[in-house]
Subunit: 413 residues, 3 copies
Amino acid sequence: MAGSPRRAASRRLQLPLLCLLFQGATTILFAIFVRYNHETDAALWHWGNHSNANNEFYFRYPSFQDVHAMVFVGFGFLMVFLQRYGFSSVGFTFLLAAFALQWSTLVQGFLHSFYSGHIHIGIESMINADFCAGAVLISFGAILGKTGPPQLLLMTLLEVALFGINEFVLLNLLGVRDAGGSMTIHTFGAYFGLFLSRVLYRPQLEKSKHRQSSIYHSDLFAMIGTIFLWIFWPSFNSAPTSLGDTQHRTALNTYYSLTASTLSTFALSALVSGDGRLDMVHIQNAALAGGVVVGTSGEMMLTPFGALAAGFLAGTVSTLGYKFLTPILESKFKIQDTCGIHNLHGMPGVLGALLGVLVAGLSTHDAYGDGLESVFPLIAKGQRSATSQAIHQLFGLFVTLVLATVGGSLGGE
Amino acid sequence: MAGSPRRAASRRLQLPLLCLLFQGATTILFAIFVRYNHETDAALWHWGNHSNANNEFYFRYPSFQDVHAMVFVGFGFLMVFLQRYGFSSVGFTFLLAAFALQWSTLVQGFLHSFYSGHIHIGIESMINADFCAGAVLISFGAILGKTGPPQLLLMTLLEVALFGINEFVLLNLLGVRDAGGSMTIHTFGAYFGLFLSRVLYRPQLEKSKHRQSSIYHSDLFAMIGTIFLWIFWPSFNSAPTSLGDTQHRTALNTYYSLTASTLSTFALSALVSGDGRLDMVHIQNAALAGGVVVGTSGEMMLTPFGALAAGFLAGTVSTLGYKFLTPILESKFKIQDTCGIHNLHGMPGVLGALLGVLVAGLSTHDAYGDGLESVFPLIAKGQRSATSQAIHQLFGLFVTLVLATVGGSLGGE
Amino acid sequence: MAGSPRRAASRRLQLPLLCLLFQGATTILFAIFVRYNHETDAALWHWGNHSNANNEFYFRYPSFQDVHAMVFVGFGFLMVFLQRYGFSSVGFTFLLAAFALQWSTLVQGFLHSFYSGHIHIGIESMINADFCAGAVLISFGAILGKTGPPQLLLMTLLEVALFGINEFVLLNLLGVRDAGGSMTIHTFGAYFGLFLSRVLYRPQLEKSKHRQSSIYHSDLFAMIGTIFLWIFWPSFNSAPTSLGDTQHRTALNTYYSLTASTLSTFALSALVSGDGRLDMVHIQNAALAGGVVVGTSGEMMLTPFGALAAGFLAGTVSTLGYKFLTPILESKFKIQDTCGIHNLHGMPGVLGALLGVLVAGLSTHDAYGDGLESVFPLIAKGQRSATSQAIHQLFGLFVTLVLATVGGSLGGE
């Protein structure tokens, strides 16, 4: 009889102890391995006698802050409120994201900036850590309300590690281009979460129960998330690109792609409903698909027309997904996609990867001139043809899907 | 008898078909006409061998993002929630703004950056498109709840075209200065909307009905919009100015003007109420009038004192307008100004234009030194006297008022 | 009998007349004393023939806008909604902050940029004015609901003046380093507010009454404030530092410190509650303590490990403060800390000052190289040893505590 309260007490201690354990471990690992890089270390920076105007920090910081705002305000508010899991969920996404930032700094640091026995950090590591936290929050959009915080923390541990490995394989080993993360962030995050969700399938989960109360204000809060994502997505896709025309072009392509996905979402949402009325869930999500779909090709010479066409397609596919595919995923495949991440991140992410295959395969020296070096360095150096780059891009999508589905399935066990 | 459901069905199809038609048309026009400019095209940029530090993109992008946030968060939340037209209105402003961004890229592109048979786009076209979307949202603040989404889309088509023409006449033909758009954005948007509203006059529209429920949380949402507009207005006015001291000075003038309009709004709001209590509608709107009133003169040598005095005056006039003028507009002129745009954008916009006339007329070579070239290039080149510039500014206001009122009246037919 | 309505009328006129008086006085003082500086004056800037790329404005403006957003969205929403004093409080913090921006421009201008008989303003004066407005809003977090708006305006008058004097003594006379304001903003603002609160002690103030209604949505609004503060704090601490590696390092340290304070807050909040549930007030506040605690040392060579350890400690102390210290402050010392500013700003501010003493004392030429000049100019010039700098830092904390407590006690009379 004493067992039950004792077990309850130990369950109560799980979350705080896990937080303390994880924070303790990352603090020790930071002490051993993590150092300022040449731009953040006082002695290293001034030794080279750099001028302030050449400090990459100033070219990247505004984009970084927009990404940071998107991840925390956008994903936090949109995903959580959408299905009305209420306040504690906002709190937990906050915790998971904060842990993901630290842990991915270590994982990505070992893979990307480890030399002389240390990890070196600066603005790039902050942007990359935020990207990883974004993928984690996407995944949890599929499993909200199905498992407890200690389990979520453990899954974050796994997902961040796999995210780092997948990104390393794609960008460093395969020479794949994926600045805005159609593959590494959206496809990976979505399918990891969906396969997690499959393992955690709970037939008794009633969606309707969560929808009954306070829908009006929840929708407004979700709309704050939507608008934040919409306005900052150009910064998200362009944050890690080469400086100059590439970053500028990426922001421009994303901006116009989003306007087109917004129009196609309104059109399709009204068409597929029986009575011509708009479904606010479509507006809050599918309107953003234009940002996801140019994640890979946004830095390429997609052309302004290409950006509009891509956005239009993404909004259409995403809205149709909400209407027709999500119910099938649950009934046939036992995948309960709580926030519809398959429609906002999964399908538009795969589409974006395929669009990247196409645009990379069509790239020519004429179209890029000397700018080819910034976008496709391997083609510029003559180590790869455009067709070969396209094939590598396609293989990168395949690797991402394998790692995400296997990882998600394992993570749920 | 079969006619009625058929008509209902055709009405249901109006919005989606219009969205698809408009998106299809802009996509085709983009394919034919729109190209990257020299800063966003990989081949063009690298051909000139520019360094990153000289890329204008990096000087303008942070301001652009603030403008983008203002237009979507600020105007969206403030205008809609103010009169509690609820969620669907937020959705529609989102749709209208997205369409306005595409369509104004085409209209403004033909007028401003059309050469070699193409429109060339980059960060400036994104800023200008956002400015135009801002004017559209201002106008719809006067007609919310009075007409359906298909009509709103058609009016956007008209207003964007007229906005582009008015801006072209003022800036390019008349040589008028109006960086922050006191005339081109606020005066134009407000009077276009007010004259639309007059044509759409609905005597049975009961304002009180919309105010009864959920006022507390609606006011908080509106306050989010107000604060976003307040903090980002310095970026709005300075986004399109010359780089260097001009942009810096514009942000500074706007910042201080807003502090003064805030104090005068609180003072006047308490004075004009019978019982000393503040009216939240005044705070949410009139406090922002300081941003509107320095839209033209913010880039000029207004002096810090001038910024405070202008803000003080604008807050005063705007608050008095809510109290005394808005009821008269409705009862005598049948103009139902749903969100009070005449007080926030109309009168402060006209005041801002007149302040621009004054400050331009007082400009001297001594006060501006070599900086005269950036602010008044025609005076610097000796093609115009300060007095002549002032007269041109005044004529610009006249043109704006004519185009806005005629356009608004036609738009409502 | 006629006296009572007359007195009521005069009370109604207090706020508007005070607003008009203050606005009139600052406008006259601006006219006499305030001028554009060499970066905002058209003639002065172009005279020197500066290039745009060297314009400090472009390095500082993005950080400035984040600070501006933090002060108005963050402090406004977080502090007010936390204890549910409702809409009018948001309005008043808006008024107080707007007045503080003008008045602190004058006070700080006389102390810092007064030459040739004038105060010279630009981006630095906007950042400094926002910092001062932040301190004012922190203080009012302790006295919300205890006194009327006219009294709050008078206290702002006093606090802004003392804030300027304290900052001048620390930074200019004592050569203390405090970029992110652990001492000048957080410690000063918190203890000024707490001693004000003591004088305004109202035993009948029932906290519980304010908590009963609409907690769910109020918590969501407060969470918007929390997330804004969390994402923009790296900009807050780095806004006034030297350009280059120092600003970059400060943002990095703050970013990681906040992740650690978030994890320790979740751990401690669950541990100290009887039933393992999280207290949302802890999450909304203590998670931010990591930003406060590196306010002084963030620009120093704190190391990434140091940032995590500091954040961890701050989150722990802050959460324990809410649980154990706040009730004692009220019962034993008659300090009703309405929003818990002692836990978010007071203790973490003092901790941050002490951490600054430690890190300054440990600074060596080896660790900073030529970068020592940017962080500790007096040590670099050989005018001071590291130990002497540490002692000056400690004395700076002492001065801040004395000025804040004496000022707060006087302000309440």
